[in-house]
Point group: C2
Chain length 394, copies 2
Amino acid sequence: MIPVEHALHIIDGTVVAEHIKKVKIAKSLGYILAEDISAPINMPSFRQSAMDGYAIIWSDSTHYTVTEEAQAGDAKHIPLQAFEAVRIFTGAKVPDDADTVVMQEHVTKQDNSITITKMPNKGSNVRPVGEQVSTGDLVLKKGLKLNEAAIGFLAGLGIKTVAVFKTPKVSILVTGNELQKQGKPLKEGAIYESNSVMLKMALHRFGIKHVKVFHTKDTLKATKKSIKNALAYSDVLLISGGISVGDYDFVKEALGKNDVDELFYKINQKPGKPLWFGKKDQQFVFALPGNPASALSCFYVYVLPLLKKCSGYSDYHLPRIQAKSDTEFKNTSGKTLFLKACLKDGTVSILPSQQSSMLNTFATSNVLLMVPEDVEIIKKQDIVTCINLESYGN
Amino acid sequence: MIPVEHALHIIDGTVVAEHIKKVKIAKSLGYILAEDISAPINMPSFRQSAMDGYAIIWSDSTHYTVTEEAQAGDAKHIPLQAFEAVRIFTGAKVPDDADTVVMQEHVTKQDNSITITKMPNKGSNVRPVGEQVSTGDLVLKKGLKLNEAAIGFLAGLGIKTVAVFKTPKVSILVTGNELQKQGKPLKEGAIYESNSVMLKMALHRFGIKHVKVFHTKDTLKATKKSIKNALAYSDVLLISGGISVGDYDFVKEALGKNDVDELFYKINQKPGKPLWFGKKDQQFVFALPGNPASALSCFYVYVLPLLKKCSGYSDYHLPRIQAKSDTEFKNTSGKTLFLKACLKDGTVSILPSQQSSMLNTFATSNVLLMVPEDVEIIKKQDIVTCINLESYGN
């Protein structure tokens, strides 16, 4: 049995292969950028009017004759001479000969003549070529998580595809003879299988949409074969149940027979003590406890960071927040506790049902309050560490 | 021109219709539950062993004869008499006659006999029927956002479908003759169209996957017709550009001709001053500024709350956080400012490029720092209000 921080250290120490793919920008949401992006064009790529108004060659005169009109999107070349003005709109190309745009609010117009009531400085309201970005500028760095703003920005540069880090292929293997599918009345002694859909949803939320689910009977032979089949498909395999020390828990032995090397087994924590983690070449395997809330707690603390690491994140642990506890809680277990809790306005409340089989408490919690193994009591008003469960979605 | 808080008040005051649909639980991630859920079964539904060990009829004796074995999932009835024990595993059905489970660590075994070295209290390690949840209990309330834990819990209850609030059908109408599609070199005077993909990604992130995009030329006739077509498809229509006061901005007039009633137009804010919001029967329309960063800022502050409201959220504004500014910033505009900023460990830094056309600043910001219209200066160490942009994903 190892301490939590030691297990996290082992996750941190794993070496993951970088897998990169090119995707259309409209398919890149939530991925980590795997290349530096240099601007392929100037932004703006032409001298652009920043206002609705009149383009002129700046002079001491306040009287100009309006000769033409330049609308946004117009490509035509508009010649301009001294004391002439071109009616112009925001975003339109400023005529090559013009050096200044006078905003329409500072102009009075009569027929084709304008009088400027407030003369701007020479050069005003003309956005120079490359004002925002010049061709070749490094504009987005490798490692950035692509959100709607980054993708919109790429589109504005005319970029259609980008290199991103692939997310790993994940499969789930469910063990347990007592498990029954939804849809029929429960048989005597059976329970409905829920861990596969729970883990699938957790993976979906992170952005891994295609997840293959395998089931096995609780025999060594069947477990061994199912692990082999699941490994053939996956970069990361999550096994649910069968990792405790009961006579019918065959997962550990079956992993050994599939040449998956153990990196850790059993953590001094509650829930989730029997968590197993191992590696076979470039593949990783987690064997999670069968109790739903234990499995989910292990998912947040250990599995998700590894998945994020494999997906190109440099900051891959869920963020920790300091908060004030409004609940007194005793820890007589000598273990690190992960308590389902609710954080609001800097104050955290420990929720009533903490049993490892109770998932509904997780449904309403937004943090895991972490009680270190050597802390025997949390008093009201104590500052505690919480793991933020809200910020991992796409 | 109205103040920001007035515009938000108008959003708050909108009455939205509730649209409900039944979905399979595996398709319910991120939706708001539209019904109270009562447990259809007891959990556990049978007396369940909490340990690996031996089931007995409690007595003063420490010697018992092992007669049978009960594995998790076994349905068979196992008769048991005084001084007999049944080998049992975690999760298995406790024989009807047994009242206590002795954990295996407190037993020594020889052939078919066991000696109990530490006798537990009568009734120990037997989870009674309905210990977690009893049939009929209200277990999840209408209004809950369905996450992986809630969905796993529903699966554990054997529930296959749930009623959720539908998300609205959204379409985007893009205006602007200067806009060009990606894929070809930029024409003189043109810019690449980016708002549609940016808004689409923002909608995807919220969970609205099917978004129809319309384009129109900048004439009143074309704009009017495009709005009509787009309205035929959508519950919420987002129009990009054409809402300023230039001679070629036809959106406001075209909305009027489509009988969309104005709820507000122009907000005393920067960026995003020309934002227009209106309603036609049960449909809502936002006309967003054409500048990408202005449009996105308006999306976060006004559009997203309305979309969340339509999707059953009771708490629909992006959360506001108080933080300490590490930047000095002057506000001489008399407007409310939404500044792209980066919040870390309680300290917020205003990012350098705040122009309304610059999207890449948004790509690296995680909050919008809100400067009220009557605040002229933010000093270092001042406590400021930030809108959290990180927590709206699915």
